[in-house]
Amino acid sequence: MEWETVIGLEIHAQLATRSKIFSGSSTAFGAAPNSQANLVDLGYPGVLPVLNLDAVRMAIRFGLATGATIARRSIFARKNYFYPDLPKGYQISQYELPVVQSGSLDILLEDGTHKRVGITRAHLEEDAGKSLHEDFHGLSGIDLNRAGTPLLEIVSEPEMRSAKEAVAYMKKIHTLVRYLEICDGNMQEGSFRCDANVSVRPRGQAKFGTRAEIKNLNSFRFVERAINYEVERQIELIEGGGTVVQETRLYDPDRGETRSMRSKEEANDYRYFPDPDLLPLAIDDAMIEAVRSTLPELPDEKAARFVAAHGLSAYDAGVLTASREIADYYETVVKGLGGQPKLAANWVMGDLSAALNKDGLEVAQSRVAAPALAQLLARIADNTISGKIAKEVFEAMWGEGKGADEIIDARGLRQITDTSAIEKAIDDVMAGNPQQLADYRAGKDKLFGFFVGQAMKATQGKANPAQLNELLKRKLAG
């Protein structure tokens, strides 16, 4: 039996507004418990919600960036259920008429092709608080600081067919919301959360199989593993004669498996109805155009520009546009260099990324600023130093915070490009190694490397490699 996997993702992105969606409380992360929960957030008797303009603008931004329809009129609805982190006993969300409808996103698959994944809808809603399970003598502690933070819930069509596709989609959304500056994408802090709806069906069958919803997926790795596990679980279950139950499952990263959530056994009847405390949200053309004019160049556009104007490969362009910070850094380097995009690309993707990863830093915290890197690369381009030496200089720049020229001068790392000087070095090496010379001339081509090494050593590594190779070849040939 050939099985097909069907995956849909629901992503909750916390919008980067200063205040909450329905109250003027701060949304800053990490405050003392309940210090950022006002009467509205606490669901006190008599309080009322008032909608945050920027939350709406951010939703519109997302809609425009995904080619979606912005609803001219959308409605807030109450989703009713009881849970301690939900103070009003209902969540204000959107149900029948969400603010964003029918968008799409192109993802790059492993084989280099593109796939368009549909986005069914994106709607605004408020986040719940947090339950802390550290024992208070058998009790849980509730912190409502997070209650009322604006969320954009992004629902994809069930069009992904593998865990890898799902991860690619999730990464793309992650990149996009950060480009748009509507969400900081910080998964550890919970500002970007993903639930996966997973089902299987015999290949060729039109009808969807029963799906399970997997929650608690707060890293790309978890998403991939959880989906793969769940697909296998469902297939094994069906092939063993069982049926998949529509349920919510939790991913356990320690065990690498999904398990049924005990407390959500009963299907909840949410009794959605339009929230009478909020009026219909009206969005007109003027508002949409005002938001459209503030859109940055989007990742796909930027990558396409890098391919067309800079001659980068699609893959490299993709890596360099993974975040606006990386892309901006790269472009600043290219500008500073006055060209040489491939050189810049290699260094940003290579040495810079490695250094950032090693020290656990974000691009914004780079110890070598883009103009400084540009200056270093300029020294390669103008033959002041070789690429190999440049790595040494970069390391020093990273560690000491000094400029390229300063380090090159201080350490005397200028490349030797004087032909006669290089020739003399080669002559000395040839004279000093007669046996190897004879062997080479007798046919041992491999010894070329030996001579290169010796000549480099004789010049403290500063001989221009290209010139050295050229001259060495000639002289060895005799």
Binding site: G43, P45, G46, V50, P84, G89, P276
Partner: protein, 490 residues
């Protein structure tokens, strides 16, 4: 003339002319409340210290020649409005320990106008009732007959004002809870247009129907007090940003030329004939004063009650979910687990009528029933609103009785909820359509050896409060009903 028989307008003039001080006035009312309120059970909390402080502050301002028309005037607030630092109970065990940490906008505004807070009045629990018999603190009695109800849910406010324990009081009206008690206690009670007065701080029953308003002894008083209460509030998304007219200045508009529509559907078999006769007399009086009168038909109106008893419970079932014992309010002893915490806190905290309405609301919103009940009701609501709009294309106001009967005996309608619900049959329509409506005294019927007040109801188009108040004021210049006081309290 005793201080407690003066209207707000008269008190205002007296304070300004320094014929008496606010402190004197306040002490007088506090004394009466202490002596006479227990028999009526009109108050949940008497805020004596606060009242005296308010009075002294008001007197200082008056001495400096400052202050406005309401400076120094004592009032009471229905215990549904949050009052900072003061117990706010909604007449429920659920909030019997709840000290509000903020003032409702209505409270803020009357305070800013210089009024003196005498106390928080009794009401039907969470504003659910038409007789003030569902209160956790016990039923309220009608000053006109201690064996009868004052109406509800603003029964405490009505009894306090009708019993001359306060010159005026705030109320709320979701299905008639200002107008019906006003009718049963010989008061003027106005429910403004939906969105005219802020709901911030007014504990929610049915969000799309609730409105704050006033119970007083005259239209002139109502104009003063409504004017001080109304206006845009950025904290309430349903609050309307439109200027508030000077209701007092517009009271003198003459009746001549007024086009009155008599709602045919209100004169049905449920209406007590004696009540109907008095309402007819009032209509004749208006005609004699120069109004033209004709019949209007609002055919969808008879569906008001079923519509209301879908929409209001649906909204309240959701609004009351926040009462779970976690952050405020009643919490059960030693909960076994989370489910037990919720069920017992709520089971113990809410009375039977509240539980009934929560369950009704939960049912009509539940899967499979939403379309047949809630969605259907919202459509019928649209029909009712359209009926009114059509009528207002031909007349300026529509008129009819406020309540089908005068005040009824305590305990006489509590066995079947439906019987109680039908008390609101004439008032609910205005709430469903969001229209302003007023009830004014129009005479007395004799029952059980007692004179029982009857109310006349006027409903106007959106934001026609000025018109309703001026018509009422002109009628009150032609008649004396509103001046009569219950003998034991005069």
């Amino acid at each position: 003339m005793s201080l407690h028989t003066l209207t707000v307008a008269e008190l205002s003039a007296g304070l300004k002319a320094r014929r008496f001080s606010s402190l004197e006035l306040t002490l007088h009312f506090l004394g009466r409340i202490e002596k006479m309120s227990p028999a009526l059970n009109a108050f949940v909390t008497i805020t004596a210290d606060r009242a005296l402080a308010d009075a002294r502050a008001a007197d200082e301002r008056l001495a400096r020649g400052q202050g406005g028309p309401l400076t120094g005037v004592p009032i009471a607030h229905k215990d549904i409005f949050c009052t900072d630092g003061i117990l706010t109970t909604c007449a429920s065990k659920m909030l019997s320990n709840f000290v509000a940490p903020y003032d409702a906008t209505v409270v803020e505004r009357w305070k800013a106008a210089g009024t003196v807070l005498l106390g928080k009045t009794n009401m039907d629990e969470f504003a659910m009732g038409s007789s003030n018999e569902t209160s956790f603190y016990g039923p309220v009695c009608n000053p006109w007959d201690p064996n009868r109800v004052p109406g509800g849910s603003s029964g405490g406010s009505a009894a306090a004002v009708a019993g001359c324990l306060a010159p005026a009081a705030s109320g709320t009206d979701t299905g008639g809870s200002i107008r019906q008690p006003a009718a049963l206690t010989n008061l003027t009670g106005i429910k403004p247009t939906y969105g005219r007065v802020s709901r911030y701080g007014m504990i929610a029953f049915a969000s799309s129907l609730d409105q704050a308003g006033v119970l007083t002894r005259s239209a002139e008083d109502a104009a003063l007090l409504l004017g001080a209460m109304a206006g845009f509030d950025p904290r309430d998304s349903t609050s309307v940003d439109a200027p508030v007219p000077d209701y007092v200045a517009e009271l003198s508009r003459p009746l001549a030329g007024l086009r009155v529509g008599v709602i045919r559907e209100f004169f049905d078999k449920g209406l007590d004939p004696a009540v109907g006769a008095l309402v007819q007399d009032a209509i004749n009086a208006l005609r004699a004063a120069g109004a033209t009168v004709r019949d209007v038909s609002l055919p969808a109106l008879p569906l008001s009650v079923p519509t209301y008893y879908v929409v209001a419970p649906a909204e309240c079932s959701s609004n009351l979910s926040r009462f779970d014992g976690v952050r405020f309010g009643h919490r059960c002893e030693s909960p076994r687990d989370l489910l037990d915490l919720y069920k017992r806190s709520r089971g113990e905290g809410f009375g039977a009528e509240v539980k009934r309405r929560i369950m009704t609301g939960t049912y009509v919103l539940s899967a499979g029933y939403y379309d047949a009940y809630y969605l259907k009701a919202q459509k019928v609501r649209q029909l009712i609103a359209a009926d009114f709009a059509r009528a207002f294309g031909e007349v300026d106001v529509v008129i009819g009785p406020t309540s089908p009967t005068p005040a009824f005996a305590l305990g006489s309608k509590t066995s079947d909820p439906i019987t109680m619900y039908l008390n609101d049959i004439y008032t609910i329509g205005a709430n469903l359509a969001g229209l302003p409506a007023i009830s004014i005294p129009c005479g007395f019927v004799q029952q059980g050896g007692r004179d029982l007040p009857v109310g006349l109801q006027l409903v106007g188009p959106h934001f026609a409060e000025s018109l309703l108040l001026s018509v009422s004021h002109q009628y009150q210049r032609l008649t004396d009903w509103h001046k009569r006081l219950p003998t034991e309290y005069a």
